[in-house]
């Protein structure tokens, strides 16, 4: 089996996966949750009349109202609602409509600014630490390989996963009102962790095979390592994937999209580790070899 030989096709496939999401990201962007923008979310149960819900919210002076249907009622989103307005809304809701409020979250502008800053910092910090760690880890790969090539191609694989995931959530946000919240950032970082896992297992084997020192070319060594690790990469990813998939099917509502991001992300991470990162490593090496000749 020669997976590396077809690397051009894998690159093309990755581009095809990346494009729709990226277009959506550029056109529509992401739909940030109130954690990032500030605002109020109220979840009600027992009232399914959309017009009535909207009127209730308007009467209580909620601003910028959007409604999302749940199985049992609605989720109302708006600008931050004052305690007084909320009280009059709740009184009206329970007294005259027999419905209940099961959840309310209000995030003021100062808090949302902090959450946004923190999310940016953690994503940037994670990326930097991972590149440094990978470069350090593979600092002693034998010739002809280059330790930075290991680190950087692994990170390119990660970027691919993150970009596709962001794209998918941009599409979900535009068409299904799915929001990006701090948990989504967590999911992206977790997916990055998984993706690095798979890549590390393959790269570790490449290193091991290079140390053994055979007469094979770099491309052959990479391919051999990849094929040898294919079983366990798929096995480990499947285990993690099946468990989050079950959680997606049966788990609680509040983390549904967090888990969905993991379900998609773990698949992506496995794909990019097997088909992209190792291929990129070979492309990089061949390019260097050509230049040196």
């Amino acid at each position: 089996m020669n997976l590396i030989k077809y690397r051009k096709w894998w690159y093309i496939l990755s581009f095809i996966i990346i494009i729709p999401g990226t277009i959506s990201l550029v056109l529509y962007g992401l739909k940030p949750s109130i954690d990032f923008t500030g605002g109020t979310v109220i979840e009600i149960e027992g009232l399914k009349d959309k017009v009535k819900v909207e009127k209730l919210a308007k009467d209580a002076k909620f601003e910028n109202i959007t409604l999302t249907e749940t199985g049992k009622g609605y989720i109302i989103r708006s600008k931050p609602v004052s305690e007084e307005n909320h009280k009059s809304f709740k009184a009206e809701l329970t007294k005259n409509n027999g419905a209940t409020e099961v959840r309310i979250e209000t995030v003021g502008p100062s808090i949302s600014k902090e959450i946004t800053n923190r999310a940016f910092i953690s994503v940037i910090l994670a990326s930097i630490l991972i590149i440094l760690y990978l470069a350090y880890m593979f600092r002693r790969v034998p010739k002809p390989a280059n330790s930075w090539a290991f680190g950087i191609t692994a990170v390119l694989g990660i970027l691919h996963d993150a970009l596709v995931l962001l794209g998918i959530f941009s599409l979900l946000g535009h068409f299904f009102n799915v929001e990006v919240d701090p948990l989504f950032i967590t999911a992206i970082l977790t997916v990055i962790g998984f993706s690095v896992h798979d890549t590390v297992v393959i790269y570790d084997r490449i290193r091991e095979n290079l140390v053994k020192g055979t007469s094979e070319t770099f491309e052959e060594v990479v391919n051999k390592s990849l094929v040898e690790m294919l079983d366990r990469d798929i096995s480990t990813s499947f285990l993690a994937w099946i468990i989050v998939f079950v959680l997606y099917l049966f788990g609680g509502e509040s983390i549904k999209f967090f888990v969905l991001a993991l379900v998609i992300g773990i698949l992506l991470g496995t794909y990019s580790s097997i088909f992209n990162s190792a291929s990129l490593l070979v492309t990089w090496q061949n390019y260097r070899d050509k230049r040196h000749k």
Partner: protein, 450 residues
């Protein structure tokens, strides 16, 4: 011989850990009746309650998994305190007394574990409040947020001015009912100092109105008929029983030293939380079963060991949750379930390596050993990356922090169970003849000679 001893030593250590974990995990309340009364004794250890009285021996281990607000239902709020009118040197003590006063006010709700914390973000002074299991959040918000600065004012010239008698001079405020109208009133009892002031104020205002002012609003302005001594007064205002109760609580706790404003609030109903728990429990059980079935089918005998390892893993995790008082949130549950997947990854890497060594012609015993040794570098490297990410996520706080803590704990415990538990068990059976069947390891054949 030496190697064998080490294996037994490890097994002993493993069993020791399992025993401790089981003791912690077990539901605990033992009461034994002994025939003869012994000395009355009561221990004061942090988690353990041990008490003997007469011929009863009570033993209770006070360790429970704490459920986060999103699971048991409740409210969390963040307030921002406006300290602009307080001099810099008094700001810290103002925050402290804010915290104390709010704690006292909240106690009125009789919640099991309310939390009031102060925090600082930039120049913003914050108070974070968690009210697990609270049903009437709106009332709580009213009760907490009001400054409750009570002041008695007298009429001078054209307006009411301060008399110097304030809420600080109160000894106690209680709700009473007017016997005629049955309306709630607040009965005030002054300190001796306050009683003196009140006597003077009423003395010089006979025939005049005095005003009772709450947070800049006059809630009542009775006419003074005669000088009042004895240090008692009544506030008759237009309030219902709820408002009267709230006011009494606020007056007793004292006025807030600075006004506070709510900037974040999250309330989750108890039913939503219970639903989350039930569903994740089902998801967890199905997930664990799916993983075990996969491991058994794919790795056969080795799969049996990883199933045992998974049981050990769960025993250890539960014990650690209780021991460290980890608060379980929805994020934590996700982290737990995810970490099960990750600990199985470790097993897979080891088992695949064992099979590889067997196929490569290594003897049975050395293949089992090499599997663990050679799989280690990639296991170490990949888990290190996950731990780095957990460390970053930990700083984010909230639900994410719960996820990060549980995931990190899970990664470490997963490594422990594989490299201590599974490894020791595999070592123990590696000498047994009956396990030496190729089918058990899904390989063609097992070399006989070393």
């Amino acid at each position: 011989m030496k190697k064998k001893n080490r294996t037994w030593l490890r097994l002993f250590f493993l069993l020791f850990l399992v025993a401790i974990a089981l003791v912690i995990d077990w539901p605990k309340e033992v009461r034994v009746q002994i025939p003869k009364p012994i000395i009355n004794f009561e221990s004061k250890a942090p988690f353990v309650k041990f008490k003997t009285k007469g011929n009863l021996v009570d033993y209770k281990l006070n360790l429970n998994i704490k459920e986060g607000l999103d699971l048991q239902g409740g409210s969390s709020m963040t307030y921002s305190a406006d300290l602009s009118k307080i001099p810099d040197k008094d700001k810290a003590s103002a925050m402290e007394s804010l915290q104390k006063i709010i704690e006292t006010r909240i106690n009125a709700f009789g919640l099991t574990e309310p939390v009031v914390r102060t925090s600082k973000s930039g120049s913003d002074n914050r108070i974070n409040i968690e009210l697990p299991g609270i049903k009437n959040t709106d009332e709580a918000i009213d009760l907490i947020g009001k400054t409750a600065q009570l002041e008695f004012k007298e009429f001078k010239g054209q307006e009411f001015v301060s008399t110097g008698l304030t809420g600080k001079d109160l000894k106690k405020a209680t709700v009473v009912f007017d016997p005629n109208t049955n309306k709630p009133q607040i009965s005030l009892e002054f300190t001796s100092d306050g009683a003196k002031k009140f006597e003077e104020i009423t003395g010089r205002n006979v025939g005049q109105q005095i005003a009772i002012d709450l947070d800049g609003k006059i809630i009542s302005a009775p006419k003074v008929n005669e000088k009042i001594s004895g240090g008692n007064a009544q506030i008759t205002g237009e309030f219902d029983i709820k408002e009267a109760n709230a006011l009494a609580i606020q007056l007793n706790a004292g006025a807030l030293p600075a006004p506070i404003k709510i900037i974040e609030q999250r309330t989750i109903g108890a039913t939503l939380g219970q639903d989350s728990i039930n569903r994740s429990l089902i998801a967890g059980i199905i997930g664990v079963l799916a993983v075990c079935i996969y491991m058994l089918i794919y790795y056969r005998l080795l799969g049996v060991f990883s199933t045992i390892g998974l049981v050990l893993y769960l025993i250890f995790m539960l014990a650690l949750f209780k021991l460290f008082g980890v608060t379980l949130t929805m994020g934590g549950i996700a982290g737990l379930i995810l970490s099960i997947g990750m600990s199985m990854e470790t097993d897979v890497l080891v088992f695949e390596r064992i099979r590889e060594e067997l196929r490569g012609g290594h003897s049975f015993i050395s293949a089992l050993r090499l599997g663990f040794v050679k799989a280690w570098p990639s296991i170490r490297d990949s888990n290190a990356v996950s731990l780095i990410i957990c460390a970053i996520l930990y700083t984010a706080g909230g639900m994410i922090r719960g996820f990060a803590i549980v995931l990190a704990l899970g990664i470490i415990v997963g490594l422990l169970t594989t490299f201590l538990g599974t490894r020791t068990l595999i070592d123990l059976i590696s000498k047994k003849k009956f396990v030496k069947k190729p089918w058990f390891f899904r390989v063609e054949k097992i070399e006989e000679i070393t």
